[in-house]
């Protein structure tokens, strides 16, 4: 019996130590001022000129001796003899004596003898004299030579990241080109399942995101990325790609193929043509990380999952790039927040991807542990080893992935095209988690979501007729501290091909149905409608559903439903009118369901939720609703559950 052993993990501290010991030497290259913004300065800038190079006027007016104006006033102006006019850029030599003045433009050099400038507003010209109505003090409205930047001063230090202001300083001292640091970082994605964006996706294949996220990440650090594309797990190709990258780059990043099972060619190659410094780091999700060196060029292997790769890049690689670029800028974008929900950790050191909404932090983890979503995480938090529980309300620091917009509302629940309209009109950025109606109720219960879009039906009691929506589910779950806001009605029905002979639910037996997944309100509604039909016709429920092949199938979205019908894999599906119409399929309405919004009471007063509700109640929303969605008299009605 041969039991597979996992490699020896190094500690996070050890991994950092190894990474910090890597020698990365960026090249110095000249760059024009226009293209220098965001780059790292490779040299100290010591100015060879004063800025301004001469004492200049900061106003349009008259250069005078201040002493001449001390006694003047609005009613008793002083009269000075006009010597002439100094425009900006003038190299004229004029000397101002007592009792004299020279007209001077903003930016023009102060003439010899003058020690102040009277603003034009406080003067009037009269033939070859000027009347001054207000006294000035020595130095007034004059910017002295060197008062901005002194000649010989070091104005910018090597390693400075150049922003608008630095670019301005460089221009001010006459620099047209500056020496910047260039660090070429090679990016290689590996994995037989990967194809590049733009190519056609085959079975078992996924698009490579890492090449592009790492490309952007490397750029953000001020380094220069080079893409080597996707390399399949083929030793010859991989060896050749590595050798090319080694000859062209000062650092190589690979991602994927980092597991110890299948496809570990990369490790063997690093071991064979270079040296492995570490393989496996004791941090989640960096476990399969590899650090090595080939011909002196460091190579770091990142996890294949894009969010994990981005976290490990931010945590280990970005600091290395910044160090190599001698950047004095702390690029790590930290934002403080408080945990929005209780969080259990496994006691191992961990980087946890999180969402950050209005200062509230929640795990951006769809429950499958290691796998998280780029589209849901704003950044990550570090959970130290031995921490097994973080209570809701605990302050945490989030390392942001980037500076882009953070969402204002977290909306969970069943998918609805109306949500996109609400987002567009409200001007609030939504983070949407389409988890189905059941998932929506859970997200509100666990205080993760602010708003959940729900359409969960329940048979009415004997006293009432028809179907009740959402309220029974709230009561059954014992939810409190929430408000149900009535949303709008949606046409729900069967979706069939145009030529189909199916005209209603009773035609389903014998037809291949594609149903929605468990937890979907639409699936629950179909069940209720069938129950009603059975009731009417007096037939057996099990017999009826067993007669419909695919009744127990579970497509994750109505888009998938439409595709199954379009492709002929199914004869009928269920969904909303607008999706059927978009796919040019026939829609047979069987119900008008109520799609409502469940809101946590404590967020009702926030600007974002108020704006959301305003938008829901607005005329613009009504007029922009997609087909099959209707607002009605109850839209906006608020039902509190204490």
């Amino acid at each position: 019996m041969k039991r597979k052993e996992f490699r020896k993990l190094v500690s996070v501290e050890k991994a950092r130590e190894i990474i910090n010991s890597l020698q990365i030497l960026p090249k110095k290259e000249g760059e024009s001022l226009e293209n220098a913004c965001g780059k790292i300065l490779a040299e100290d800038i010591v100015t060879e000129i004063n800025v301004p190079p001469f004492s200049r006027s900061t106003m349009d007016g008259y250069a005078v001796k201040a002493e001449d104006t001390y006694a003047c006033s609005e009613t008793e102006p002083v009269r000075l003899r006009m010597l002439g006019n100094i425009p900006a850029g003038s190299d004229e030599q004029i000397t101002v004596l007592g009792g004299e003045a020279v007209e001077i433009a903003t930016g023009a050099p102060i003439p010899e003898g003058a020690n102040s400038v009277v603003m034009v507003e406080y003067s009037s010209e009269e033939e070859d004299t000027v009347l001054i109505y207000r006294p000035v003090t020595v130095g007034e409205n004059i910017m002295k030579a060197g008062s901005d930047i002194l000649k010989g001063e070091r104005v910018l230090r090597k390693g400075r990241k150049l922003g608008t202001r630095e670019i301005g300083v460089l221009a001010s001292v006459g620099k047209k080109e500056v020496s910047i640091l260039k660090l070429h970082v090679g990016i290689i994605s590996t994995g037989d399942e990967l194809v590049l964006p733009g190519e056609i996706l085959g079975k078992g294949q996924v698009y490579d995101a890492n090449s592009y996220t790492l490309y952007a990440g490397v750029q953000e650090c001020g380094a220069f990325p080079l893409l080597y594309g996707v390399v399949k797990d083929n030793e010859t190709v991989m060896r050749k790609t590595l050798e090319t990258a080694v000859s062209e780059c000062t650092l190589i990043l690979t991602s994927g193929s980092t597991s110890s099972g299948a496809g570990d060619i990369m490790y063997r190659l690093i071991d064979e043509i270079g040296e492995t410094l570490a393989h496996g780091v004791n941090i989640k999700p960096g476990k399969p990380m590899v650090i090595g060196r080939i011909k002196g060029i460091p190579i770091i292997g990142l996890p294949g999952n894009p969010t994990s790769a981005l976290m490990i890049f931010n945590e280990f690689v970005a600091p290395l790039l910044r160090k190599a670029l001698e950047a004095d800028t702390e690029l790590k974008k930290i934002e403080k927040g408080i945990m929005g929900t209780d969080l259990r950790s496994e006691g191992r050191q961990q980087l946890l991807p999180v969402g950050l909404i209005r200062g509230r932090v929640y795990p951006a983890d769809r429950g499958s542990g290691a796998i998280t979503s780029l589209s849901e995480a704003d950044g990550f938090i570090e959970i130290p080893s031995k921490v097994e529980f973080i209570e809701a309300g605990t302050p945490v620091e989030v390392t942001l992935f980037d500076e882009v917009a953070k969402p204002g509302l977290l909306i969970a629940g069943g998918f609805c095209p109306g949500i996109d309209v609400l987002e567009d009109l409200s001007g609030i950025l939504f983070r949407t988690l389409y988890t189905g109606s059941s998932g929506g109720f859970s997200s509100i219960a666990s205080k993760i979501a602010d708003v959940a879009g729900v359409n969960m039906p329940f048979p009415s009691s004997k006293e009432q007729s028809g179907i009740l929506y959402n309220i029974p589910a709230i009561k059954n779950m014992g939810l409190s501290g929430v408000v149900l806001i009535k949303g709008y009605r949606r046409d729900v029905g069967l979706i069939v091909r145009q030529e189909s002979t199916i005209s209603g639910l009773s035609d389903l037996p014998g037809k291949r149905l594609i149903n929605r997944n468990m937890g979907s309100g639409t699936r629950a509604l179909l069940e209720l409608e069938i129950a009603e039909l059975i009731n009417e016709k007096g037939i057996n429920k099990k017999e009826f559903t067993d007669s419909i092949p695919g009744y127990f199938s579970g497509a994750k979205s109505e888009v998938a439903i439409c595709e199954a019908v379009l492709s002929g894999k199914a004869d009928a599906g269920i969904g909303k009118r607008n999706c059927a119409e978009k796919n040019k399929l026939k829609f047979i309405k069987f119900a008008e369901e109520e799609y409502d919004f469940l809101v946590r009471k404590e967020v009702l007063g926030t600007h974002e939720v108020r704006r959301f509700l305003e938008t829901l109640n607005s005329k613009e929303f009504t007029s922009r609703l997609p087909i099959g969605l209707q607002v009605y008299e109850r839209t906006g009605e608020m039902l509190p559950f204490e």
Copy 2:
């Protein structure tokens, strides 16, 4: 009597209203994913695939039916029949039945029938079977199809600024190219005094910084700048440049020539070939701002001073660009701070450039009112009209110019090359204000600076011999709550040409001297040395100094001193040894002055000051000191003044 009238100013609100009404229509252009980072998305992105497109394994291991593992344990593993191996990217069709397992790689599609994956760590292979040592639950180590991004979902909204994560999402859904918004902004600098960086500076000329700061600023907003260079105040040239820009851009920014006095050609031209919407805004420093339109293309005239131009750009233009680009990102970089000093305002609405150091805000204004420095301001604060006084300690919001490093220490006082060494070794970013020793004392008194480098001499009392440094100045000013930290000694002397016959102070009569400015410690030291010489020789002081032409001159820096000597404009100057040697001039030492650091007691405990002092006391500092600077037994000694 014709009194010049200033144009009618519009209010800030009115100016914003006019700017908001400007029609700017960016073009949509395709952009490759590599170049899309930082750009603005021109289209909604609705995915056409699920991410992942199929349910995939998140681990290396064995795909099994979870039910088969429920009873197993470390001591009693369950044995399953091995069906084969599914590598990543595989399109093989395998069905797993009860009692069976398939080896599976991370990322590979889950085979039909399997509902979980056992990690390789909890298994061992034995011939054509596998032993499982731990139970798994349904769904464990599986990432479900569409669990990251659901097909048909809008994953990115039009107007979103693309960061690393957005790029990753686009790649994940297979996008190779996206439609982005392109807004071409023309930039024209005007002014007869301006020359482009890289050119030779004539008399009365300054380098144009605005072209480049605005270029970088426009880029930061996600728009595309086009430079039209410097246009002199010549109507024909300016008209031609404007016409070209109007034909190529969707917005034009000009700067300079905005005063009502000389060079107002730009306004007349806008009036003549277009229309003026506003000329003059009631905000400091935006007063000379102009807003107009030529052939439907908006044109905004900014002030000529670079800091003012950058403030007005941030305040009025950047929001316009963002609006035009439908960017949902708030690009205004606000940081909270508290006023570090009392501040008087003139009661007019004002944008005041400020420095921001460790949360403390101080005016970055060298006292001349309208003129401020790009190299000293980190951003600006808005002071509402009618506010005439802001007390130290008041919380304020700073709009940052960019995201680049903020300094950790504000150091004022006399220039010293030792400061650059301290900065390099400490790793702390310094903001230096070389204001001379006197300026250093004042900056500490007004609580603006954290540290002042001072070398102010004072004659010793009769009981003591030699010259005392800095302590008498502290006492004379009545400074309290400060600590004087003894720095190092600096060789000070006469600087003369190599062939000069001057060998000491007594040779100065009849020679043209270039002295330092008032407030410089070196100038004060020269005076004391001369006093001593006179004392010794029993000659008259006034006679002696009157016999030295230029004794009352005042160069702002020792670099200027060296140049005057090198060029032959002066025969001797005063300064430090290293400056003389750098300029290959002869140095005749007449004193060894003490250069100390005055620190405000309340900042002594900060990390930055502690690091500063550590560095001062370090061996590395001693070994890296420039020639003519020596640490000595008192270096690092701390003298408190309560």
